[in-house]
Symmetry: C2
């Protein structure tokens, strides 16, 4: 009897613990294999599916099909991974070899109770709690080591998640690493696999950053325009650790992660303008943009190969684009829609990028279409030596000029 | 003996649980009352103190003195609060009356296991784990109710944290609410308290947002230029809940929170350019900026009062600025530094904003300083009727003009 009571005592304690665990688990887990658009408080996807109703995204549910690799789970990568997880991305591949430290607590994502865990383990712990619908693959490795690079490559090639996908097994690689060597490795892998990727970075003084889209053969690769100064002869990580650590801020890293994943969503779901490069200067709140074409003298052999492929595939690309446009026009006509412009009113024509630009100042461009006159004489007219005794006609011309100046001044 | 054994059994289970709890607690808690700049993995502030070494911030430790109120702990407010917590802000005041729902899981910060908790309780739970150095004050109330507004006002006035502080008890109020009514209430409170604050917002289609700095009397208040269309006759929250819920994205909200807290750090710690208004259009990656002066016909009486105060305090402000400049110059001279410019080479003078601008085209501005000539005649010269018989002199002038045109065309 006494024995039973004490056993009961232990059992009760264990039952309480078990029920607490189960109750907690019930609250923390939700799993919607289809993304419901229903507007109820219990639907974690209602605010995302609303993007369709608002006309921003045509088919938000496609996000379930996509695989994104995040290389480097630090201040930018961890937040990018969390954003993609909360957006319901299909599959995330996470790469890092580092451990969580208290010194990381000034950036979002990791918690002090995760100190000592690998960043990949800690990330999987947090992300699977947030959204168990996302397939998480964790790779605790250094991509710059020989073995690490091999595993990195084979993980990117693996198409088990969506066997019908063309090309590699992932739709996009996000580079969120903090050193030049690792960026060059991601660049090498993506050039070899013809894999679109996005670069991100934050400055050592923590107050600026950037994101960049790289499509092998189409845009500059990371080796096409390398940084002017890189650490040489020493391990960059050692350099950082020995007393001269870089500054970092959760704000700058959060903004860069946000811009990176926003560009990712635009790229994958096909809405808005995908930025080829976007900088963030936080001291001035200045956001520079630019585009970079591939460098035909790039030092990276795989890049040169992709550049060649890209040029060779141009006729096929043009034909596909034309066919798509015609199909859309036909579909619109079939649906009874009037095309927006029936003829090419402004005489806009498509010019091949590779053709040399025609001279703007040449004689051929001097002939204006009917009904147009020049506001000012062309440079050529004044560069011709004036004939002597032409004062009278010159006066007429200049009277005309004077009237134009008067009009300008009066305006 | 048997009794002892079963007691032991219970004791052992309890001891194991206690040790697990303590071990967990030891890992999750760090408390540095002074901010160490030491570069070790165990220092959560090393990457922030590096901002001083890098010359970005003069005195980062001042952040421990500041109190920031975050009104609305949603998609923007919660992330803003986490960023400030990780930056080691002195004190955070959190206001919300809502509960965590699964429908919030598409934004950063809240976890599924917090569903059902008030947002303030869940935030305090997460933030105190992240950084126990921050003093957290939680207000579970609706600031738009009469009682809520009173508590809101008295909490802002409370100066227990830093009795020597001038003005209210907080250094900045961040408005992260999602409706017009609540923004107007924050505006009212800040106008009454002469309290600087920042507004933030994200569009209903989730793809754009903005932040704005409002300083009573100095900049436009929220009532000076109200939105053109607001919900009328219905509760905005009801409007949102009944089937037509707004879209939201963790990316846009993360970017807006990052820009908001970055502006907050620049404002509090005195570095970089504090943006008066910064927009974020994610579809085009366009970031508009602007400044808005107060509206002398503003409908808000407290705003008009602050505008009057601001103008009255102008001489004192100017004198203080002049004294500060002179003191800095004297200090530099005492330290043996050469001032950058010994005299005012470019003749720059300070012009009162309130003085009517001098006419640029008027006769007074026609007199040019010695050594300068006009590139083109002024508008007035051509607007004067030409005297008859002045053809010859006109020809000379026009010859001159022609030469100028030639030069322009040849350039």
């Amino acid at each position: 009897m006494l024995q039973l009571t004490s056993c009961n005592c232990v059992l009760i304690v264990l039952l309480i613990l078990l029920s607490l665990y189960l109750f907690d688990d019930q609250k923390s887990r939700f799993s919607f294999h289809d993304m419901s658009a229903e507007v109820v408080d219990s639907n974690p996807y209602s605010r995302l599916m609303a993007l369709q109703r608002m006309g921003i995204v045509e088919n938000y549910e496609r996000i379930r099909e996509f695989s994104v690799a995040v290389v480097g789970i630090g201040g930018v990568g961890s937040v990018a991974a969390e954003m993609l997880t909360r957006c319901g991305i299909g599959r995330l591949l996470l790469y890092d070899y580092d451990k969580v430290e208290l010194a990381n607590m000034n950036r979002l994502f990791f918690r002090p109770d995760q100190v000592g865990m690998t960043k990949t383990d800690a990330a999987v712990q947090t992300l699977s709690d947030i959204n168990p619908d996302v397939v998480l693959e964790s790779y605790t490795l250094n991509i710059t080591s020989v073995q690490g690079f091999e595993t990195f490559m084979s993980s990117l090639k693996n198409k088990t998640f969506r066997p019908s996908k063309e090309g590699s097994g992932v739709d996009l690689v996000l580079s969120c690493v903090d050193n030049y060597e690792a960026r060059m490795v991601v660049n090498q892998a993506c050039n070899e696999l013809n894999q679109a990727w996005m670069e991100s970075g934050v400055s050592e003084d923590a107050v600026s950053g950037h994101i960049q889209l790289l499509i092998p053969g189409e845009t500059a690769c990371f080796a096409c325009a390398p940084p002017l100064v890189v650490a040489s002869g020493v391990d960059e990580r050692t350099l950082k650790r020995e007393g001269v650590c870089a500054a970092s801020l959760p704000t700058t890293m959060g903004v860069v992660a946000g811009l990176l994943v926003q560009n990712t969503l635009k790229f994958l779901l096909g809405f808005g303008h995908v930025s080829p490069y976007l900088g963030y200067n936080s001291l001035k709140d200045f956001f520079p943009t630019m585009t970079m074409k591939p460098n035909p003298q790039c030092s990276n052999a795989a890049c040169l190969e992709q550049q060649k492929e890209y040029i060779l595939a141009k006729p096929a690309r043009d034909a596909a684009a034309k066919a798509k446009m015609e199909a859309e026009a036909a579909a619109a006509a079939a649906a009874g829609d009037m095309p927006l412009h029936v003829d090419n009113e402004w005489n806009i024509s498509i010019v091949d990028d590779n053709e040399p630009a025609k001279s703007i100042c040449g004689t051929s461009s001097d002939a204006l279409p009917e009904g147009l006159t020049r506001e000012l004489p062309s440079a050529d007219e004044f560069q011709k030596p004036q004939a002597s005794g032409a004062t009278d006609s010159a006066i007429d011309d200049l009277e005309d000029l004077r009237r134009q100046l008067e009009a300008l001044n009066a305006a």
